[in-house]
C-alpha cells in the first residue's frame, strides 16, 4: 500500500504522508531507537492510533502543528513531535503527551506521519524495514474500531457519564466537536 499524501489549503508548500500500521511486534524497539535519536526513525511522527478517533481528529492536530510552525509558537523541537503533542489539550506536559499520543511498548497500531516540503525527499519506503507489522488502510472505520475509550476520556477530560453516549455512531459529530475544540484551544 502506498502512503496517503495530504496537502492543506493554507500550507501548499508542505505535504504530509500518512501510513497506518497494525499487528506490530517491535514497538518497544522502535521506541528505543526514537529515544536514542536514531536518524532513520527521526523522519517520522509515530502516533498511537488508539487515541485517534477519526481522520478529522488527526487533521485538526496537523492544522495546529502547521499554524504553530508558521506563527513560531511550536512547543517542541520539530514537526514530528509537535504533531504528536498537538493531539493533546495540554501542551505543558510534553513527555506525558508523547507517552500518551506517541508510540509506547503496548501499541499494536500506529499512525506514521512524515512532513516533507515540496520537491523534498520522503523516506516512506524505509518504513517497511523499520516496522514489523502489517499496513492498514487509513480510514475512519479503522480508527473508530480501535479507540482506547478509557484513556481517551481521561486525557480529553470527557464526561465519564457520557461514555456510552459518545460511543454511539450517531453522536460521532458531537464527540469530534469536543475533541476538536480541546485541540484548537490547547495552550491558550
Amino acid at each position: 500500500m502506498s502512503p496517503v499524501t495530504l496537502s492543506f489549503p493554507q500550507f501548499p508548500e508542505c505535504s504530509v504522508h500518512v501510513t497506518v500500521w497494525c499487528k506490530i511486534s517491535n514497538t518497544a524497539a522502535i521506541k528505543q531507537q526514537l529515544m536514542e535519536g536514531n536518524q532513520n526513525y527521526g523522519h517520522f511522527a509515530f502516533i498511537n492510533s488508539d487515541m485517534v478517533t477519526s481522520k478529522a481528529h488527526l487533521y485538526s492536530a496537523i492544522y495546529r502543528t502547521l499554524t504553530n510552525q508558521v506563527n513560531g509558537t511550536m512547543t517542541s523541537r520539530n514537526l514530528n513531535s509537535e504533531a504528536t503533542i498537538s493531539l493533546s489539550m495540554n501542551n505543558k506536559k510534553i513527555t506525558d503527551n508523547l507517552k500518551k499520543f506517541g508510540i509506547n511498548e503496548h501499541s499494536e497500531r500506529i499512525i506514521v506521519l512524515e512532513f516533507f516540503e515540496e520537491n523534498g525527499v520522503d523516506h516512506c519506503d524505509s518504513l517497511k524495514t523499520l516496522i514489523e507489522g502489517e499496513e492498514a488502510e487509513f480510514t475512519d472505520a479503522f480508527l473508530r474500531a480501535h479507540i482506547n475509550w478509557g484513556e481517551l476520556i481521561k486525557v480529553y477530560k470527557l464526561d465519564k457519564n457520557k461514555e456510552m453516549y459518545y460511543k454511539e455512531e450517531q453522536n460521532r459529530e458531537e464527540l469530534f466537536n469536543v475533541l476538536n475544540g480541546s485541540i484548537q484551544l490547547n495552550g491558550f
Binding site: 495530504l6 496537502s7 492543506f8 489549503p9 493554507q10 501548499p12 504530509v16 481522520k55 478529522a56 487533521y59 485538526s60 496537523i62 492544522y63 499554524t67 506563527n71 509558537t73 466537536n177 469536543v178 476538536n180 475544540g181 480541546s182 484548537q184 484551544l185 491558550f188
Partner: protein
Amino acid sequence: MASHIIAQAQAYLPNIPLTMVSQGAEALVFTTTTHPCLPVSEQTDTTYIIKYRPSKPYRHPKLDAQITKHRTISEAKIMHKLGQLGIRVPRLVAVDAPKGIIWMHFVGKLLANGEMSSLKNWLWYLERVSAPGSATDAGTARILTQVGREIGRLHMHDIVHGDLTTSNILLEQPHTDMNDTDWEPVLIDYGLGSYSGLPEDKAVDLYVLERALLSTHPVFSEKYNAWVLEGYALGHAEVGGKLGGKKCTETLRRLDEVRMRGRKRSLLG
C-alpha cells in the same frame, strides 16, 4: 475603507476565498467554502464563517498583539464551553489566536426576501412583508419565547453574552423536516461574553435586548419583550429547577432597577 484590512486577512489566509459579510469596530466577518483543517482532497462545498480581528494601528504593537490574542481566545473558549453545555452556538472549527482568526460553522439561512435570517430581519419581514397580524401570532410568540429560553439557559451557566441585539440572534432550521415558519434561535458573537454570576450583569443583558427590540421594532416591542421574559423563566426552570426560579426572580428584580437608571451603573465615564 477596509481594503487594506481585507488584504491583510487574505495574506494571513492564503488560498482561502473570502467573501466579506460584515464589518464591525472589532472584527470582520467572512464566509468561505474551504475547511481549514481538511486536506485539499477532502474538501466539500460547506460554508464556514471566518471572524478576523485586525490589528489596530493606534495601539502599541506589543499590546495590540496581546489584546487580539486574548480576545480571540476568550471568544473561542466561551463558544466551546457553551457547545459542550448543549446550548446552541456556532460550532468551533479552528482557531489561529496570534493572528486573531476564528473559524466556525455557518449558522442561519436566507429569508424569502433575500436577507439573512437574523431575528431583526425576520421580525421586519413579518411586520412589513408577511400577512397582517403574523408579527403577533402564536408562531412569533413561540420563537421569541425560545429566544428568552436560550438566554435563560446561558445565564443559568453563569455566562453573560454582553451584546445581545436582535442582529446577534440568528434563526436556523437545524432539521430538514422543519417548515418555513419554524425556527430555532442561535445566539452568536461572544466577543463581549464573559463569566459572571451577578444578577446585575445578567439584567444588563436583558436590558440591552429590550432596548434593541424597542428601537428596531417599536410597534410590537412590548409584546416581544413579554414573550422573551416568559421564555427566560422557562430556561431557568429547565436547567436549575427551583434554584433556577430563584435566580430568575433575582435577575428580573434587578432588571427593574436597571430600567430606571440605564445600562451603566456609575454615572462616571
